[in-house]
């Protein structure tokens, strides 16, 4: 198997999706309805033009513990930004962030030698753009519609799994480009959001 850096840098599927979608970023992998028995998912959010030096962003929902955590650790690399979504356990998320950004844990067999600090690992400060992802019970429609910012800044009461999906706004996309995360898709009127929708990774 190729090293993660090489295959993610190529990211052939991203290119096709880019062409189809008309913008530089797209959802590449929406791999799971995160239900109780399967609550992590990997969203390979976006990359730029897949040339050398591009950075892939991967979103792992439910990534602070368990399987999601293992996947976040596995995928992280110098060309891969890992964004971890979580709901409850701040301590676990912070711990993972520290581990991801500080190198190999003691006794790890993983080769971190060349895995420099280029990658940005984000947890804990997801309150703004990625807050919609902070759900233990996330399903696809909810992720996408909430990512549009409809209710950013508040946690909905109760179990999101009970929410009426039909009442949610049309899905729009949230994409990470390089180290930035931006709202790429439109507001309710269908107009794309401008540069004001761009946040640096640090802002997250």
């Amino acid at each position: 198997m190729l090293a993660p850096t090489s295959w993610m840098a190529r990211a052939d599927s991203v290119q096709s999706c880019t062409a189809a979608g008309g913008d530089r970023a797209a959802w590449i992998k929406l791999s799971a309805l995160a239900v109780k028995t399967c609550r992590w998912c990997v969203h390979r959010l976006a990359t730029t033009d897949n040339q050398q030096g591009e950075i892939m962003a991967v979103f792992v929902a439910g990534g602070s513990k368990g399987i999601g955590r293992a996947i976040a650790l596995e995928l992280a690399g110098p060309d891969v930004d890992v964004v971890v979504g979580y709901r409850r356990d701040d301590a676990a998320a912070e711990s993972l962030a520290a581990e991801l950004s500080s190198g190999p844990p003691t006794g790890s067999t993983k080769q971190w030698t060349n895995w420099s600090m280029r990658s940005t690992y984000l947890t804990g400060r997801l309150d703004r753009t990625l807050r919609p992802f902070r759900s233990r019970h996330v399903c696809l429609d909810q992720v996408r519609s909430r990512a549009a910012g409809a209710q950013v800044g508040e946690d909905p009461p109760g179990d999101r799994g009970q929410r009426d999906l039909a009442a949610l706004p049309r899905p729009r996309r949230l994409a990470a480009v390089g180290r930035r995360v931006e709202h790429l898709l439109s507001d309710q009127s269908g107009q794309p959001r401008g540069p004001s929708g761009i946040w640096s990774a640090r802002d997250l």
């Binding site: 109780k36 399967c38 399987i67 996947i71 596995e74």
Partner: protein
């Protein structure tokens, strides 16, 4: 456990529909159906029988070592990378063979 089982099955169905719908955009959708792993979610579902269940399962896996989180993570990486380019709409089992005996 009943709820867990039906959710697993409905997830498989969902994956197939999503994969079909998004294939034209070169988006692949897959699910990983992992064997028992000692996580919080697992404990919540299994409850007090967790230890026993894990031990029983471990003896049925290849090499008897049981499934590790890293096994699942590596598998996730594999199906996400170009090696898995033609894998879509699949619910892939990784459990060390434990379910063969179930």
């Amino acid at each position: 456990m009943e709820r867990s089982g039906s959710l697993r099955r409905s997830l498989r169905a969902l994956v197939r529909y999503l994969a079909a719908e998004l294939a034209s955009r070169d988006v692949r959708i897959n699910a990983i159906d992992a064997g028992p792993l000692d996580t919080e979610a697992y404990r919540a579902v299994i409850g007090p029988y967790g230890e026993q269940h894990l031990a029983d399962t471990r003896t049925r896996t290849v090499g008897g070592r049981g499934l590790a989180l890293e096994d699942v993570a590596r598998f996730a990486r594999f199906i996400s990378c170009p090696n898995g380019q033609m894998i879509s709409g699949a619910a892939l089992t990784i459990d060390g063979g434990a379910s063969i005996y179930a």
